[in-house]
């Protein structure tokens, strides 16, 4: 039933001599929300960046929608249908909201622009109000929404989200996770979510991976991991609500 969209096999990534990823195997099936949780420095963001081609992995293979993308340059990977909302949002601060969204559509057909813009404004109505404002003047939550909306402008088959909850108020986090759930349920968007906010991420995800020191140590459905005593002890105690 589940068709794999993204397959990661035995991926090892180095920063100089330091090994960040030690043989990662991971699958994201079409229509799923998959989350990767782990503590600071576990290699979560490195894996996400490796999927996008910077840095390149030294061993292993990455396959997306039937194509081997292990050696492809970043801009070609994006053209195949992987859009990324990078860590720390990385919106263009001096460009307006509208221009930011326009940049997101850089790889898609200009004919779709109106439709996609309307869709983005429907998902995040606040962006429509702020469309003429510079990206840098938005609040953190609005910037995160802009980063996600910008990624969606490329009409991706797979959306990579790197810590969308970083530094945001709990209410905003809830709102953003609600949007992700909605995109997945109603538009069939496949999402790969990297998070430290394990509680929210596990509740949202169909399946989840846990990463420790560059290795996947545990995998299962979101609710399985949420119930697992190790996960509770390592990531959830102290009440991350």
């Amino acid at each position: 039933m589940a068709k794999p969209l993204l397959t990661v096999r035995g991926v090892e990534t180095f920063y100089g001599k330091i090994q960040a990823l030690r043989g990662i195997d991971l699958d994201v099936n079409e229509g799923e929300i998959v989350t990767l949780i782990g503590s600071n420095g576990a290699g979560k963001s490195t894996l996400m960046m490796t999927i996008c081609g910077t840095p390149r992995c030294r061993a292993g293979s990455i396959n997306f929608g039937g194509a081997d993308i292990t050696q492809s340059p970043t801009h070609e990977i994006v053209r195949l249908g992987i859009a990324q909302s990078p860590e720390g949002r990385r919106i263009f601060p001096r460009m307006t909201v509208l221009e930011n969204l326009q940049m997101g559509a850089a790889v898609s057909d200009p004919k779709h622009f109106d439709e996609d813009l309307g869709r983005a404004f429907k998902i995040f109505p606040i962006l429509e109000k702020r469309q003429g404002q510079r990206g840098g003047t938005l609040s953190g939550g609005e910037q995160q929404m802009l980063a996600i909306a910008r990624a969606l402008m490329a009409r991706p088959r797979l959306l990579l989200l790197d810590e969308p909850s970083l530094g945001l108020a709990p209410l905003i986090v809830k709102q953003i996770f609600e949007v992700i759930r909605d995109l997945n349920a109603n538009q069939g968007l496949t999402v790969f979510l990297v998070e430290q906010n394990a509680f929210h991420a596990l509740k949202l995800a169909h399946r989840a991976y846990v990463m420790v020191n560059g290795r996947i140590t545990m995998t299962g459905t979101g609710s399985q991991l949420l119930a697992s005593p190790e996960i509770r002890a390592a990531y959830l105690e102290g009440g991350a609500h």
Binding site: F92, Q102, G104, A151, A154
Partner: protein
């Protein structure tokens, strides 16, 4: 205001003011003493230290008096001084300054005028006094006006912000002036020459603006492309075109070589671009700086090809599309039934550079609205985000370097044909620095800012040539021209202090939606999407 009132209630603290003035004098002495007080001269047979303590005394006295003046009248203003008084004083200073300046200027050139009979350099002193009074008066007027407005609770946004909405009209006005400039009565050859120089720098500034302002790639070696363009024209027109196509081609060479020079410069832009693709910021700046020097050193040392330090001379002047500007029956004047005048060629050159500069501006503003221009701006903002959105950053950087270099090459070609002579000396690092200063002072990415900054910077250079009156006041051997870089430096420090992002900071978005509610299709359909 409140500070001043509190001060007047407590009584002015004269002890503190005294200490402050003494400290100021000490610091001034420490700085001025060695620099001004001791002058190493080399008369026959060795180095001699010459002491000028009187001058040091006067300079320190002026600084201390100025500080005391500020302490007593500005920072601790007596309560009975109202802003309106200051405003009136400022107006009076402006009036006195203007009168002194006019009297001084009108008598400057007549050594037998009534002022000169009193004292040989009185006219010059009048001019200096007039300039000082004018500056002081303007400062007093503006600060008092601002204070009065603030006391009334009005919003004061500063001069630049008040001017900014009219930016569009400034552009149109400058354009109209530029078009009719050679025909304005009273405009002579000197002014047209200066305008040509300014327009050359405007064009170079606009070209560099693509690389630095839009794509955010700090390029300290832009003069290299200027040099490539100039030498391309010089060598092709003097040596290779006559060799390949015969002498008959000469009247046409400028128009044939211009695009070639641009292309060659663009190629050099790509050659520079490849090794620096992975570099940003300071590292990029160093490599581009080195690149600029490499080109210059090659021009000096490749003697057989470039003529080395002697340069290339007898470069053909541009023709009016085949008709030379000569004083004979085939010349421009005779063909169009005009009286011959050497000014005709200058005016023609002026329009050539005006059109070239306008093309640069047009292309840049158009590109900004196309995907490649948007990608440049996005690249300046965040390279990693750019890559994650599927933009090929390699191509984006290379196009920025190539197109910026191409306009530098056009400008270089024009420079060669105007001068009739090129040598490596014209392409030193200082040129790159001036062009970069124009772009930064104008405001990175702002087209109109570049125009204003070139007029200010190049104009300031020329104003210093005109300051003959300073020679009359200052000790013998003083040449104001030598101080022009100092003045530009001071201007730069002041602008960076008050306008850290350059004169014009406004950035027009490249896409708008007409109405806030409805998503309008027409703008996007025109290729903006």
């Amino acid at each position: 205001m409140t500070a001043a009132t509190q001060q007047s209630q407590a009584g002015t603290d004269y002890r503190r003011i005294f200490i402050d003035t003494a400290l100021t004098a000490l610091i001034a002495l420490a700085i001025i003493g060695p620099i001004v007080g001791m002058n190493a001269t080399a008369p026959q047979g060795g180095l001699v230290l010459e002491y000028r303590w009187t001058m040091v005394f006067w300079l320190v006295a002026i600084i201390a008096a100025g500080r005391l003046f500020l302490q007593l009248l500005v920072w601790n203003r007596p309560a009975w001084v109202e802003p309106i008084h200051i405003k009136r004083t400022g107006a009076a200073a402006i009036a006195i300054g203007a009168v002194a300046l006019l009297v001084g200027l009108s008598n400057m050139d007549s050594p037998v005028g009534f002022l000169a009979q009193i004292h040989p350099s009185l006219a010059a002193w009048m001019i200096a006094f007039g300039v000082f009074a004018l500056v002081l008066g303007i400062w007093l007027m503006t600060s008092a006006t601002k204070e009065i407005a603030e006391a009334r609770g009005a919003q004061t946004g500063g001069l630049m912000r008040a001017v900014e909405p009219y930016g569009k009209y400034v552009g149109v006005a400058l354009f109209l002036i530029a078009v009719v400039l050679p025909f304005i009565p009273g405009v002579d050859r000197r002014i047209v020459d200066l305008a040509i120089l300014m327009l050359t720098y405007v064009m170079l500034g606009w070209g560099l603006n693509i690389v630095v302002g839009l794509a955010g790639l700090l390029d300290l070696g832009y003069v290299a492309f200027y040099a490539v363009g100039a030498y391309s024209y010089a060598l092709l027109s003097t040596v290779y075109f006559p060799l390949w196509f015969g002498e008959g081609i000469t009247p046409w060479t400028f128009w044939l070589v211009l695009p070639l020079a641009g292309l060659l410069a663009a190629c050099w832009g790509i050659i520079l671009g490849f090794p620096v693709l992975r570099l940003r910021g300071d590292y990029l700046a160093i490599v581009t700086l080195a690149f600029g020097e490499i080109i210059r050193v090659i021009l000096i040392n490749w003697y057989d090809f470039t003529g080395g330090p002697n340069g290339v001379s007898d470069i053909p002047r541009p023709s009016f599309f085949g008709i030379p500007f000569s004083n004979d029956e085939n010349g421009f004047a005779a063909t169009f039934g005009l009286t011959y005048s050497p000014l005709q060629r200058i005016i023609f050159l002026y329009y050539v550079i005006l059109v070239l500069a306008l093309i640069t501006n047009f292309v840049t503003t158009r590109l900004r609205k196309l995907p490649v221009g948007r990608a440049w701006e996005a690249l300046r903002e965040d390279e990693i985000a750019c890559r994650s959105l599927g933009i090929n950053t390699t191509n984006t950087k290379l196009t920025a370097f190539a197109i910026g270099a191409m306009f530098g090459g056009f400008a270089g070609s024009f420079f060669a044909t105007r001068q009739g002579f090129v040598s490596p000396e014209s392409f030193v690092f200082m040129e790159s620095a001036i062009i970069l200063a124009i772009v930064v002072l104008g405001g990175l990415g702002s087209q109109i800012g570049v125009v204003i900054a070139s007029i200010v910077v190049i104009g300031a250079f020329e104003v210093f040539r005109e300051m003959a009156f300073l020679k009359a006041i200052m000790p013998a051997g003083f040449d104001p021209v030598q101080f022009r870089m100092l003045a530009v430096g001071i201007a730069m420090v002041l602008i960076m202090r008050w306008r850290p992002r350059g004169l014009i900071t406004k950035r027009d978005p490249s896409i708008y939606l007409k109405e806030k509610k409805a998503v309008s299709a027409d703008l996007v359909a025109q290729g903006h999407g």
